[in-house]
Point group: C2
């Protein structure tokens, strides 16, 4: 991969002077068009060896274009707010909005490569990170992002010279630290790990562009012209997402996990009161335990309208200290959320350690309401299953305890509850025209939910199907499941 960037590429002064004014003008125009278009963000990664002009290139791009619509984000050590969440959280929170250019100086590649070079991680860990990165970039591209990854390369000899030169310059020498020289000693190993990583993460939708870093004019012109061509082309294309394999709409026999549930399950009031108190006590103890300070709980509540999600959530939170949890009710996204990839609005609320986030409706909206109501393309919800599984894997890998509840009621019971809501003074806020319209689409929702459960009930994130015809039964089942899952997780840690 790097051979082509060791052949002494350069651009002479005259050619550069001739090309740059037009390039700058065109870049500025492309940038404004991108901003006006507003359909996708541009994500530019700047990576590579030290001394190859990464920082200078970032500054040049900011100078050439309108810096007001560029976000340059440098990643040093994690803040404590970042360190307590999944590793990718800090990148998610900095993603540029649609219409913006985000320049990532340091990125999700830095740690995996550096850790491997220094032997902090093994081959398998790197392989896993590479897989994760590929999923992430695939998702970004599917959401419309234009991704360009620039790798600045220098052959060994040139890097030594470059570091020596900077080191000797009194104005520049601060840029070269002892760590840089330490790093240089590992040049060969760095070369090998980087080559391996780049090879396995170079994709049509997120290509690596290796740039020889010896000549400033050459590397600046290269980056600028690649960026220009890519933005122009991406603006021309109306993204046409490819649909997944077409599957028949129903299982042949009409049976699915939901319509086979035994909804008749019940719990008498006395037994309910006893079990509720017992389980709430246990949950309270677990949430206050020392081990829990290193973990977090993420719950997704889904289910048919009026299945009792809110009531179940309140029985959970009643056992917790209010300072320890947040409930995130999911309604229509805000415009800041709409300007980001679909999962962004869930990432932003992930809990710190020792905390609970309870999502009242969740990231599964993509394959439920958005699918049924046609709010997204078939290709979008079809790819969502894999994206969601990946998301949940990251939660669990970071110590999150994940619980997903599907609350099911019969159509008759739903009708009864809708009517009750209409008639009860302080419940009439809870029923809208939309609820009645959704009800008419019951078979579609049931089909979507059944398929969702089939495709996303995994070892790390199993769905708990909750018979919710009887509220007592449902609430106790939710609490018991939660207590058991936390117990198991804490026992293992």
């Amino acid at each position: 991969m790097f051979e082509a960037a060791e052949i002494g590429h350069k651009m002479d002064k005259a050619a550069y002077a001739a090309e740059i004014p037009a390039l700058r003008e065109a870049l500025l125009e492309a940038q404004w068009a991108l901003h006006a278009d507003g359909r996708f963000p541009v994500i530019v990664l700047i990576a590579g060896v030290d001394g190859a002009g990464k920082g200078e290139t970032v500054n040049t791009l900011n100078e050439w274009m309108d810096p007001r619509h560029i976000r340059t984000i440098a990643f040093d050590g994690s803040s404590d707010e970042e360190a307590e969440r999944p590793r990718m959280w800090r990148y998610w929170r900095e993603l540029p909005r649609k219409g913006q250019i985000g320049i990532f100086f340091g990125s999700w590649y830095t740690d995996p490569i550096v850790d491997r070079v220094w032997g902090k991680t093994g081959k398998k860990a790197l392989a896993l990170e590479i897989e994760r990165i590929n999923h992430f970039e695939r998702m970004l591209a599917d959401e419309g992002a234009l991704i360009l990854k620039f790798w600045f390369h220098l052959d060994k000899q040139s890097q030594r010279k470059r570091l020596e030169k900077i080191d000797a310059d009194p104005v520049m020498s601060w840029q070269v630290t002892r760590a840089d020289w330490q790093q240089f000693k590992r040049y060969d190993r760095y070369y090998a790990v980087a080559e391996h990583t780049l090879r396995l993460t170079s994709a049509g939708h997120a290509p690596w562009i290796v740039v020889e870093g010896r000549d400033a004019r050459y590397r600046q012109y290269t980056v600028g012209s690649v960026l220009l061509a890519a933005i122009r082309k991406h603006l021309e294309q109306r993204p046409m997402p490819a649909s997944g394999v077409a599957l028949p709409e129903l299982p042949a026999d009409g049976r699915n996990v939901l319509n086979q549930m035994k909804l008749g399950r019940k719990l008498g009031d006395r037994k309910y009161a006893h079990e509720l108190a017992q389980l709430q006590g246990e949950l309270n103890q677990l949430a206050r335990s020392k081990k829990f300070r290193e973990r977090s709980v993420i719950c997704a509540f889904e289910g048919m309208d009026a299945a009792g999600k809110g009531g179940a959530i309140r029985r959970v939170t009643a056992a917790l200290d209010a300072r320890q949890y947040r409930i995130i009710p999911i309604a229509a996204p805000t415009d800041e959320e709409r300007a980001q990839p679909y999962l962004w609005r869930f990432w932003r609320h992930l809990p710190r350690r020792g905390r609970f986030t309870l999502y009242d409706r969740s990231w599964y909206g993509r394959v439920l309401v958005e699918r049924v109501e046609g709010f997204c393309q078939p290709a979008d919800w079809q790819r969502a299953y894999a994206e969601i599984n990946q998301f949940e894997q990251e939660l669990v890998d970071a110590g999150g305890i994940l619980c997903k509840f599907w609350l099911q009621v019969s159509q008759d019971e739903q009708l009864r509850r809708f009517r009750e809501r209409e008639e009860t003074r302080f419940k009439h806020f809870k029923i809208t025209e939309q609820d009645w319209r959704n009800r008419e689409k019951w078979p579609h929702y049931e089909l979507a939910a059944a398929e969702m459960i089939e495709r996303t009930s995994t070892a790390i994130g199993p769905w708990t199907l909750v018979e919710a015809e009887d509220k007592n039964w449902a609430r106790v089942k939710v609490l018991r499941t939660l207590v058991e899952r936390i117990e198991v997780a804490l026992d293992r840690s």
Copy 2:
């Protein structure tokens, strides 16, 4: 203030049982009405002595109402992201949205009171904090927020008993730490400081409600019923902001700071090139200096349309490492921003230490475009002067270096630049119908700007008036001012 909360208030079980169901129902209904109304947030502060049932009350409120529309925020130590910004930043970022209830467990009162009790701060520092808090709450109230501040009180004897009781309970004893007992030893001093602080911060728009904490039923019922009555009343009132004193629209002689500027100032190209390079070099050095790591720079760029704000900003950023600055272009607020007090969208982008935030248009929009175009009520922009001065005081108190630039061009020059933008291919994005419409209101904008400068050019945040008819002159003046202000600030630190 506390005497009335030492008389043994209580509520017997029967009365409580009789009242609570209706209270809960009414609270739930008020909460839904608040949510549907969406015009204002409810901010509930829970403060007071340890052992008086603060935590329990927070949990009870969450249990009684719909916890999905409550945000409970507890404040422990600051995260590093918080510690590097003005003290109020952590409260701003957690403010509930309009239609939401935010319960603050621990608040902007905690540190000022505790620090004074332990002698970490003197009388004057407390007085300053109190003044700051009053400004902040006044601003919140003026923005429509309903503010209720509950102080849970226990007389000395009762607090001792309460702490002993909790300490002896094996399940509860974790709640009482050594620090709590240490705190108790200072009961009298705490009493005095708290009484002083409450007295000076109890306002009609943000009242303190002192609640005797001995009886759980009494305190829960009190908080619940106060909250209910306050929400109901606030919902009924269509807020009718009182206008400030009516002032005549123009100075008698028509002279103002802007139309008296000498716009003929110029700088030749050679001199410009020389000075620009010199100043950019100085700025670069300053930004990389060790002392600057503890400071930050906040710049506001305002001016007539086409006065050259963007160009001036780019001459500043060209001197900086792109990782070190962010430019925030201010356009229409997002809906998340609209659901917050006016200044929230500026608070959210404040830089960490060692960084620059450059606002391309700023918080002064309130007294410029919003005033002229009638986007807000007269009362809103009239109070904004004081709010802005307060905001800037906080920036500077936290080590921020604040620079405010007004770029002025003549009407003729603006016309020339508008036409140039229309004719130049890569500049036509920069001119819209709106710009032409604004131009027609030139006298109104000039009047508003002149009044703004008069009222907000302060010792800590002076306005720099920049003659921008000649771009060379303007850019050099901006850079020179910035360099000088940073130099002065670093010399002093």
